[in-house]
């Protein structure tokens, strides 16, 4: 039996479609990813200080 397409389901589909489109748009406009400069899989013990963004940062 075909699933009914309720307003709630429509809202969810639109939400995920917009999120997917945003990520795809961002990926398309960004420079190619350099896999040779990949961050370490595990930061702890890697010797490389984390350089990621965090909400506690003042700058």
């Amino acid at each position: 039996m075909a699933a009914t397409f309720t307003p709630a389901r429509l809202r969810r589909v639109v939400f995920w479609a917009l999120l997917f489109a945003f990520v795809a748009w961002d990926l398309q406009r960004s420079p190619a990813i350099d896999r040779w400069r990949e961050p370490p899989l595990i930061a702890a013990g890697s010797g490389q200080v984390s350089a990621g963004g965090h909400c506690s940062m003042a700058k």
Partner: protein, 358 residues
């Protein structure tokens, strides 16, 4: 969608990240999915826990959150002391923090979700939270773009307990403060009330382990708001409304780099997407949300609250996750300032929430 095809789609995204982006980012996606599943599966809502404490004198959610803070601190503080690569969530004690935390605590009750709550409820398909998410992102961006003006009101350097005292004393002080907070909660709720609930305890332990994993893999504590602000900044830059080169926050080298590269390389963005995915997976196994539809007025108030919540989260150097959980569990003084200020804001927010009939 059923859980099996959903799991297949998530596995495909994992493989994509693993192969084309970075193995670390693929691992962080899994951590984020776990966080989303734990938050949504256990209904571990920071906002709800505080509301239940104030309105029903039910301490189980608040005690569950204190347990989360204690367990995460027990895992994270020794890691920070043992691995110099790892960073604590150090925000500066400031006027900005005081105001931001108060307003955040107020608006999160109206929006019915903090940073992580908005994410997991959006993933579950709750209409208001799905609507709030993009406004939260724009608010986070606006807050970060104005941050220098708020910091000019007064600030001191961030204080990290682990760096000052070492892991042992920092953990002892943190546990003592959490214990004192727990006793206060019990005194307020009354000693006869049930104070432990399996759902909250399981959620707390799962989230503490995942927060520690986030720290070990990413090198920084779990955060939510930075990723949202980055998304908002990308959109504002794309439509020509914002020049990062002229902004003190976004012209910092690290922020400029993250703005230029794909968000799939950003730590916080990938765990945010993971949380959405984890909550969606939980929602796939549940009955649809049948809560009463909101009125137009409630929608308007909720959406405005979502924008202000995003703005204030940047002023407060994090939400319940970035400032409270990550701040306290990694020994940042700003987390201990954030908590009472946000709770004071919640007391006002609950009145506003009732005023608009939420």
């Amino acid at each position: 969608m059923k859980r099996l095809p959903l799991a297949a789609l998530m596995a495909a995204f994992f493989v994509f990240l693993f192969w084309f982006v970075a193995v670390r980012q693929a691992a962080l996606l899994l951590v984020g999915i776990g966080m989303g599943a734990a938050l949504a599966g256990m209904r571990f809502g920071f906002t709800t826990g505080w509301r239940q404490l104030v309105e029903a004198r039910d301490p189980r959610g608040a005690i569950g959150q204190l347990l989360l803070l204690g367990a995460a601190a027990t895992l994270c503080m020794p890691l920070l002391a043992g691995f110099p690569e790892l960073q604590a969530a150090l925000g500066p004690p400031s006027v900005s923090l005081l105001l931001g935390a108060f307003v955040f605590g107020l608006t999160m009750q109206i929006a019915d979700g903090c940073g992580s709550g908005t994410l997991y409820k959006a993933g579950l398909g709750v209409p208001l939270n799905m609507g709030i998410l993009p406004l939260f992102a724009l608010g986070s961006f606006a807050g970060s773009a104005h941050l220098q003006h708020w910091l000019a009101l007064g600030q001191v350097e961030p204080v990290g307990l682990v760096g000052h005292w070492g892991a042992g004393p920092a953990l002892a002080v943190t546990w003592a403060l959490l214990l004192a907070t727990g006793v206060t909660v019990r005194l307020f709720a009354g000693w006869q009330r049930d104070w432990l609930d399996r759902r909250w305890v399981q959620g707390a332990l799962a989230l503490a382990v995942l927060a520690a994993l986030n720290l070990v893999i990413a090198g920084q504590p779990w955060g939510v708001v930075y990723g949202f602000g980055l998304w908002g900044a990308k959109l504002a830059q794309a439509v020509g409304a914002f020049d990062p080169a002229t902004n003190p926050f976004w012209s910092q080298p690290g922020n400029t780099q993250r703005l230029a590269q794909t968000l799939l390389l950003d730590v916080t963005s990938i765990t945010n997407i993971g949380i959405l995915c984890g909550a969606l997976w939980v929602a796939a196994g549940q009955a649809p949300d049948n809560s009463k539809p909101l009125t137009g007025r409630q929608w308007a108030v909720g959406l405005v609250a979502g924008f202000v919540m995003g703005y204030s989260a940047r002023l407060a150097f994090g939400c319940n996750v970035g400032a409270m959980l990550s701040g306290i569990s990694t020994g940042s003084l700003h987390g201990w300032i954030w908590l009472p200020m946000a709770f004071a804001g919640t007391l006002v927010g609950l009145r506003v929430r009732r005023r608009f009939g939420f």
